[in-house]
């Protein structure tokens, strides 16, 4: 962000009363612009709420759905709002094992968010490094990396993930690995695009003239300037990863039955759907939907805020 893009009147000034006003930094400007959109703020609030619920699940959930001693099979498939044998109300009903759906969703959210965020972070690290390398090194390295990216992107994510899980089998780490392999290419492509422009700038030349080591030029000078598009892609990819994990778990290829994510909870309710017991699939789906939409709302607005082309 250059100085010329400062909005009028946005230059740091001291107020008349003498109390110092904080100087405007790119970060503060970004924050104030972000909070201009109501839908993005709602998305952020909902997302933070979902993360909080996921983190605090063991403390706030009415029941520990993994603790078999707390489950009563007689309470199986109760409708939402029924008071169960243990004496508390199942606000969202119970599944076939007599598990409280509300608690199940809270714990499921933990798994879904952890898998989504974890795979996005690893994919980002791998993808961004390769993208930077491709842009900085150019030549053969660039060709090889980008060919791989093209190959990866020409396959639909579900198919690639399906293939990898068919090789590796079920398991949380396998799902994360599959998601990383499916997603790194998006980061690599994004970063390379920005880095190709940035590396021709004067500050990179200046850094090279100072004879700084290459890794330092790449990671301390080039990378920070490629961050904005990376953040946007990263946000959207977390949502995609969560959705893909849910889909894979629904197909029976994702997380194991002992650690049910939202997708697996939905899948468990599938067979009871036809007999009208909708809540086993319905509520985890709503939780999944709300999480994904909230992330997408934030990402959508981030794209507008961080896009320098829209600043004119």
């Amino acid at each position: 962000m250059s100085a010329s893009s400062l909005p009028q009147g946005g230059l740091p000034t001291a107020s008349v009363t003498g109390a110092p006003i904080k100087a405007e930094t790119p970060f503060r400007r970004f924050v104030s612009e972000f909070f201009e959109s109501k839908s993005a703020v709602v998305g952020l609030v909902v997302f933070v709420l979902a993360v909080t619920i996921a983190l605090l699940a063991p403390f706030i959930a009415p029941q520990n759905p993994y603790d078999l001693a707390q489950l009563d099979i007689m309470d199986g498939r109760l409708e939402p709002g029924t008071v169960g044998g243990a004496g508390f109300t199942y606000w969202l009903g119970t599944d076939d094992q007599g598990r409280d759906m509300l608690s199940g969703i809270m714990y499921g959210l933990r798994i879904s968010l952890a898998v989504g965020a974890g795979s996005a972070i690893v994919a980002c690290l791998v993808g961004a490094s390769l993208g930077l390398l491709a842009a900085y090194a150019g030549g053969k390295t660039d060709t090889v990396i980008m060919r791989l990216v093209d190959l990866q992107l020409s396959f639909p994510s579900i198919l690639a993930a399906l293939m990898i899980l068919a090789f590796l089998g079920k398991g949380i780490m396998n799902v994360v690995l599959a998601l990383v392999i499916v997603e790194w290419a998006y980061y690599a492509r994004t970063v390379r695009g920005t880095a190709l422009v940035e590396r021709r700038r004067e500050y990179i030349e200046a850094a090279q003239c100072l004879a700084l080591p290459t890794w330092r030029v790449i990671f301390r000078h080039l990378l920070p300037n490629c961050l904005p598009p990376l953040i946007v892609v990263g946000t959207m990819q977390v949502a995609r990863a969560i959705a893909l994990e849910a889909t894979l778990s629904f197909l029976g290829l994702g997380v194991p039955i002992t650690e049910p994510s939202l997708g697996l909870l939905i899948s468990n309710g599938y067979e009871y759907m036809l007999s009208g017991k909708y809540w086993i699939s319905f509520y985890p789906g709503i939780a999944l939907l709300v999480t994904i939409v909230s992330i997408n709302l934030v990402g959508d607005h981030l794209r507008d805020v961080l896009n320098p082309r829209l600043k004119k």
Binding site: M163, A243, F250, L251, G263, L274, N296
Partner: protein, 323 residues
């Protein structure tokens, strides 16, 4: 043109070869199918006989070479479970998947283009904003969950549409099709719409963006200045230009539609290749997994090639030779 075609075909062959190797080795990395296919009560003799019959005793590279040689002759191995040629098994189920994917694509175009046109021509109207919000939902909603909800509403609660299967089929050209009977169409409606949701959103967005961009072009102003009717300007001059990205993306999406039909087929118990592959992965029926992946890869390479070629036919500015 022919040079380009030859290069693309060579590239395609190389990708196929690489994929066959990855797929084959990958599938062999999962646990031993002997454990699953042979009854645990079987004695040592029976086990060995079964291993020999399935060709699992040979070294990996020999199994691959024989696989490759057979694949070139169109033999992708026999399914361990069905004891039928894997290729035949998949080809039998392919019409169902293609029917579903084509139905979804047609739905996406028929629903998406008019909505996108409207949203592009009147971007400020309330209906346009509703359409655009709806398209965000189309991107965000997980397909399988929407499918379940559709079953719940239309099949369980309202009882309008059947929830699973293909319904009555008619044999045409030796293949069984659902879309020719009323019952079949009723069975097709929900899965096709479910599979189409994502694509409808995509087509709406592409059409809208295209319309908004094209409406500002000089040739549109010129056409208006010539006194052409609004209808002719929109449906001849604007429409032709927005069709290029739409056709490309929908064409490219056909492959991913076929891939994503895995999900829809599982939800609606649609007897296509997608359901077959999920079942095969669950029982580690390796020949079927390998054959499915090879067929899908081939399909992708063909679709990409066809889209590139049709692109140049639609837009003379694209010159393939210069690539």
């Amino acid at each position: 043109m022919s040079l380009y075609l030859a290069r693309r075909l060579l590239q395609a062959a190389l990708v196929m070869l690489a994929m066959s190797l990855i797929v084959f080795v990958g599938v062999y990395a999962i646990c031993d199918p002997v454990e699953i296919l042979i009854s645990p009560d079987a004695d040592q003799m029976e086990r060995e006989r079964a291993i020999k019959a399935l060709g699992l005793d040979l070294p990996l590279w020999m199994q691959y070479l024989s696989f490759l040689g057979n694949a070139l002759r169109g033999d992708l191995g026999r399914s361990f479970v069905f004891n039928e040629p894997a290729l035949q098994l998949i080809l039998q189920r392919m019409p169902a998947t293609l029917e579903l994917a084509l139905g979804a694509t047609i739905m996406a175009l028929v629903i998406g283009i008019p909505l996108g046109l409207y949203a592009g021509l009147k971007p400020k109207s309330f209906l346009s904003k509703t359409i655009m919000t709806g398209s965000i939902l189309g991107f965000s909603l997980p397909t399988f969950w929407v499918g379940l909800m559709m079953i719940m509403v239309f099949a369980v609660q309202l009882g309008w549409l059947p929830s699973t299967g293909r319904g009555q089929t008619v044999e045409v050209l030796g293949l069984r099709w659902s879309f020719l009977t009323r019952d079949g169409l009723a069975h097709l409606a929900m899965p096709a719409l479910n599979l189409a949701l994502f694509k409808i959103s995509l087509v709406i967005r592409l059409t809208r963006a295209g319309v908004r961009e094209t409406m500002l072009m000089d040739f549109v102003k010129f056409a208006r200045a010539k006194g052409l009717t609004n209808q002719r300007v929109i449906f001849v001059h604007v429409f032709k230009n927005i069709m290029i990205p739409v056709v490309t993306v929908v064409g490219l999406e056909l492959g991913s539609t076929i891939a994503f039909s895995v999900v829809t087929e599982s939800v609606f118990a649609w007897p296509g290749m997608g359901k077959l592959i999920i079942d095969s992965i669950n029982v580690l029926d390796r020949p079927v997994i390998v054959a499915y992946l090879m067929i899908i890869v081939m399909m992708f390479i063909t679709i990409n090639l066809l889209v590139d070629l049709s692109y140049s036919a639609l837009d003379p500015r694209v010159r393939l030779e210069n690539k």
